[in-house]
Amino acid sequence: MGVGLEHFLILSAVLFAIGLYGVLAKKNAVVILMSIEIMLSAVNIAMVAFSRYSQSITGQVFVIFIMVVAAAEAAVGLALIIAIYRRRKTVDAEKFDLMKW
């Protein structure tokens, strides 16, 4: 039994589901941001695995871009969380209810 493409894809799908669960179930905005990072990592694993098995380097280039953009996104996200925390003294996503969802 070898480690094949499907193993990586299963790992990636499981990670993606864990991240999605975190996004939907967690209350702390920072934790939600972390869950999103898990989802992106899941995508990265799938990309690299596909890239390895289709003998095309494009997938790995894609991963570099995903990592870079994710870093920018996290930086902006943290900045917004800090802006909210300064005014409200909370990062609880359920308390962000000035406007109804």
Binding site: I36, F50, T58, F62, E73, R87, F96, M99
Partner: protein, 473 residues
């Protein structure tokens, strides 16, 4: 490699950097807005000069054809109108004016790239350049509502792009390439049409892009973000961001997934029906005008998706034409709202009561735009609906068009309710509503556009047809 093909984007990026540096090293801040608007002439000139070329660069990642050039010009006009109308609003973030204009320009750069890439990595990067700029702009006021809206937009947007990326990963894994044309060849050559993984990839792509254009069930961010964001940014979001989303959807689905059009055509038809119904029904209950226009823009996205569901050249050209009409109409409505709410400091529809006596011209413009949104002749909205409905019927989507017509009737109710409040309500005070010359210029341009497209649409329609004909090989 031909750098000249990328000149509109490069000059726009340079303009954004110049605005940032001017802001840092110069004291006369009022110049920033002037520089941003006047500077837009350079990328616009490059875009017009490139009209007629049909070439690719950067290994096929960048494609310059009439479709992308049309959208580039579209985004430049929209951002110019938004900057002009921001002059009345910018006092709310006086210390950050330079950043505001620069980030607006950066978002536009991203949208222009979105319209002109034919490769998944570039699409993703352009999408995120737009997205991240818009998250920042949404939270720009730094008050409770604005930063809350910004964070919600960011969190949901990031989830949407993760979903989109997963779809891209599946498509890439199945076809082994990220170039849209090569994906299409690989799909038909390897008989992937019946593959469930491809269907999964398509569904994830629809979900990811559906977020950008605010299609149900990915619309939950729209009302909050539209209400919380600074009004010029709301106008920009509702017009440019949506148009960019549709541009990229047209590219990806026509050029890469064209062979699978039976699958995604049906998905879009169902989503279109649900989207327009949800948008219109919920809009009736709104008391905040920005929120109401938010739901109205969801409904308009539903009409627009008829063009996607049609999956034909008629459909895509009707969609492009609809986008232009919608842009003028919605921008006009929001610009009028900026001026009025600046004075009365409220977005409640009830506070607009009797506005016609306090600001006759602004009210007339707002009423015209609302009538156009409702789709009543002789306005742009009527022509747009006419063309997109007939494209739907051409493709045999009679059921969808019937739903859309019923929706148009429902929508007329809440648009005309606002018009009634403005004209027949008793004014809350007798004070006049002031507005700057820049804002009035932008508003008149938008209103003239609405009327011109309603009475003489043929020229724009012809250009839209040329642009849309670029999509199919």
């Amino acid at each position: 490699m031909n750098i000249y093909l990328l000149s509109p984007e490069i000059s726009l990026l340079a303009l954004a950097l110049v605005v940032i540096l001017l802001d840092l090293f110069m004291d006369r801040k009022w110049l920033l807005g002037v520089v941003s608007v006047v500077g837009l002439i350079v990328p616009a000139a490059f875009t017009v000069a490139l009209w007629g070329t049909n070439q690719t660069a950067f290994g096929g990642a960048l494609v310059v054809d009439q479709f992308s050039l049309f959208f580039k010009l579209f985004f430049l006009v929209v951002v110019a109108l938004v900057i002009l109308s921001s002059t009345d609003y910018a006092h709310k973030f006086a210390a950050f004016r330079g950043e505001y204009y620069a980030i607006l320009l950066l978002a536009t750069t991203g949208m222009m790239l979105m319209a002109s890439t034919r490769e998944l990595i570039s699409i993703y990067v352009a999408l995120e350049l737009t997205g991240i700029s818009l998250y920042v702009l949404t939270g720009f006021l730094k008050d409770d509502k604005s930063s809350e809206a910004g964070l919600k937009y960011l969190l949901l947007g990031a989830v949407a792009s993760a979903v989109l990326l997963y779809g891209m990963a599946l498509v890439f894994g199945l076809t082994g390439t990220t170039h849209l044309r090569e994906i299409a060849t690989a799909i038909s050559a390897e008989g992937l049409l019946s593959s469930p993984a491809l269907l999964m990839g398509i569904v994830l792509l629809v979900a990811g892009f559906g977020f950008k254009i605010a299609a149900v069930p990915f619309q939950m961010w729209v009302p909050d973000v539209y209400e919380g964001a600074p009004t010029p940014v709301t106008a920009y979001l509702s017009v440019a961001s949506k148009a960019a989303g549709f541009a990229v959807i047209l590219r990806v689905f026509y050029e890469a997934l064209g062979p699978a059009s039976l699958d995604w055509g049906m998905i879009f038809a169902v989503i279109a029906a649900i989207t327009m119904t949800v948008g219109n029904v919920v809009a009736i209950a709104q008391s905040n005008i920005k929120r109401m226009l938010g739901y109205s823009s969801i409904a308009q996205a539903g009409y627009l998706m008829i063009g996607l569901a049609a999956a034909s050249t008629t459909g895509s050209s009707a969609l492009v034409f609809f986008l232009v009409c919608y842009a003028f109409t919605n921008l006009g409505a929001f610009i009028a709202i900026i001026a009025i709410s600046n004075k009365i400091d409220s977005d409640q529809i009830a506070d607009y009561s009797g506005m016609a006596r306090r600001a006759p011209l602004l009210s007339l413009a707002l009423a015209l735009c609302l009538i156009s949104l409702a789709g009543i002749p002789p306005t742009a909205g009527f022509m747009a609906k006419l063309y997109i409905f007939s494209a739907g019927i051409d493709s045999g989507l009679v059921w969808l068009v019937i739903i859309a017509v019923i929706n148009t009737v429902i929508a007329a109710y809440y648009y005309l309710r606002v018009v009634r409040v403005i004209y027949l309500g008793a004014p809350l005070s007798e004070e006049r509503v002031p507005s700057s010359g820049a804002l009035r210029a932008a508003l008149s341009f938008a209103c003239l556009g609405v009327l011109a497209l309603g009475i003489y649409p043929w020229m724009v329609l012809r250009i839209a047809e040329v642009a849309a004909s670029m999509l199919l090989p």
